[in-house]
Symmetry: C2
Subunit: 404 residues, 2 copies
Amino acid sequence: MVELKVTNRGVCVPGFMAAGVKRGKYGVALIRSEAPAKASVMLTSNKVKAAPLLVSKEHVNNDIFGIIANSGNANAFTGDAGMEDAREMCSLAAKLLGGKAENYLVASTGVIGRRLDLATVERLANEAARSLETSPKASEAAARAIMTTDTFPKICSVEVELSDGSRYEVGGIAKGAGMIAPKLSHATMLCFLTTNARLEKEEMDEALAKAVEQSFNRVVVDGDTSTNDFVVLLANGSAANDSIEGFQEALNFVTQTLAKSIARDGEGATKYIEVRVLGAVSDSDANLAARAVVGSNLVKSAVFGGDPNWGRIIAALGYSGAEVVPEKITLYVGTKGDERRVCLVEKGKPLALEGTAELKAAEEVLRQKEIYITAELNLGRGRGEAYGCDLTYEYIRINAEYTT
Amino acid sequence: MVELKVTNRGVCVPGFMAAGVKRGKYGVALIRSEAPAKASVMLTSNKVKAAPLLVSKEHVNNDIFGIIANSGNANAFTGDAGMEDAREMCSLAAKLLGGKAENYLVASTGVIGRRLDLATVERLANEAARSLETSPKASEAAARAIMTTDTFPKICSVEVELSDGSRYEVGGIAKGAGMIAPKLSHATMLCFLTTNARLEKEEMDEALAKAVEQSFNRVVVDGDTSTNDFVVLLANGSAANDSIEGFQEALNFVTQTLAKSIARDGEGATKYIEVRVLGAVSDSDANLAARAVVGSNLVKSAVFGGDPNWGRIIAALGYSGAEVVPEKITLYVGTKGDERRVCLVEKGKPLALEGTAELKAAEEVLRQKEIYITAELNLGRGRGEAYGCDLTYEYIRINAEYTT
């Protein structure tokens, strides 16, 4: 077991610099690796893929010097002109940070189907480039620059100390908030991960796929899978580590922390919801069941209202597609640090009925800000999790008013 | 082609009587066939199936005298006691309307996981039985008795005149509102259909499956599939028709009308949304795409806010799982009687951009109460439809406050 030490560097792990500027709707983030890095990416499974994703895909096997990303416009469904705009952003990054356009990856988030305002992107990129540095503050500026309806920046980093005393770091920033659902997607939202570990491309691809499966693919905010979901891992090898011991663990930690932050900051969210399913026939069944519960509008509304209407959780387990035997279900609801505080249902037998202490306790749990729902299906050894948030008036307001 | 004449009988087609009483949360509806009827049913695909559905399934091949249904409690996830309660409801129906318990079907809707208040059901059933009659008013009373968060009763009936001058009728009542989604389900919500046509059981089963596929399975309110979804067709043969010409057509008309009423009356809805997808690779692809659009929280919120943010429709088409080529998509939005009024996107080219007449016209369309979204994928000849409604503050209020 390696030791993971949480740090505050974000993407600014040794050998990486960052910067970000946000002005109104538009923002630009820059990430620069001091040495050419290898890149591994995962894109949305949406059949409508934004131009920056397609351009990044063309560049991914090149030496990567950095990333340029903007908020304010998704540059999605923008045809040939959008492809040119995405390439232009890479050229701009090269002009400001060195190398050639094909040494950069590009990402965008915002409204779909509108041409990017390149002049604004250029102005903000120029401004950002002047403040490029390696510091927690610079990483935070980059994280803030890609925010849209996010209410706080998502940042995480860890240092790994190997048994031989050598070290490397893994860090990342992400943005989330709306149009987020994993079920049809290989990746979700924007997330930029950096590491100074020395890794082979195949090792990176494998580790990233595993990490995304256990982090971003477990987040459900609203069931919509974006055209722009994009996760990037850059590794510049400057730590010169001999072993990649602990890398998967570190990457999982960073991506899970960022994924939970995204769930916590879902559009309009007032409460964080984590669902754990145990005893399923398989892990994939457990994940399916957990996602159904955390994605249910009815469960999400009930949590918002503090209504312990646990029948909706049972219904969601039932339609999830996972193998479920009603008589075997045991159901808990709890809060942080005490995840199985109240047993609502025990092997199919409802305990939290009108007038019971269980129902009263469940009501109290639902007044908390962190709600943990645990379902034991008692059918096998499969385990799964999903992360989400409540569905609120504010979600409706944000999405009824957003843009145009 | 047979002629369909819309009537106002609802389930009270010749040879059928109905009654309904609603007192607060609880309501009881009774439907009685004068002659023993054949029954065809479709149940929810949810793995947690409510007790009344399981009891009805046991009875479905018997001579059916009628249906007893209650609102106020779903009698779902109630174990053996719930099964006894459901059987007790059938006994009660037999006591009041003749025959034996096994000659009745039973249905329930309401909160999940709570024991039924049988005394209340019995009191309301006694009261209803005294007003049993064959009239539009009686059918409406039954439709009102099964309402929960519905704001209006759903009723439809048609008379079929065959070429030989003989006639038969098909009618129905339904309830909907919340916990409604077709995608994992063979049936949705409660719907009771009656006909005096003479039909074989196999003909009924086949016609009902087809009708449900093209009606209730096209409705999405919130993506949640209930434990209690139940569609029943009773045929008592009293019309003594020689041919069943026009039956599928009549049943489709009644079920589609009821399905659209359910979409229109989705919890908290202020607007009806109908999505048509044309030119898909196949009909099933077209239906998949239509459902994704009508089920998208982001599209639903935008329609609520009157925001012509059509990029969200494109994104939903993209993640629907249907084959989609962005450059080929043509997209319209219109209103009743003028379904393709504004072309938003033409073969991948956005027309409704800032400052255009198209965007202004789209804004005007979105101020209407009936929104028709038409997507031409230009890939093949597949066609599909889906029916839904906007996502509103009121949906949240209803579901944050409902019950316990």
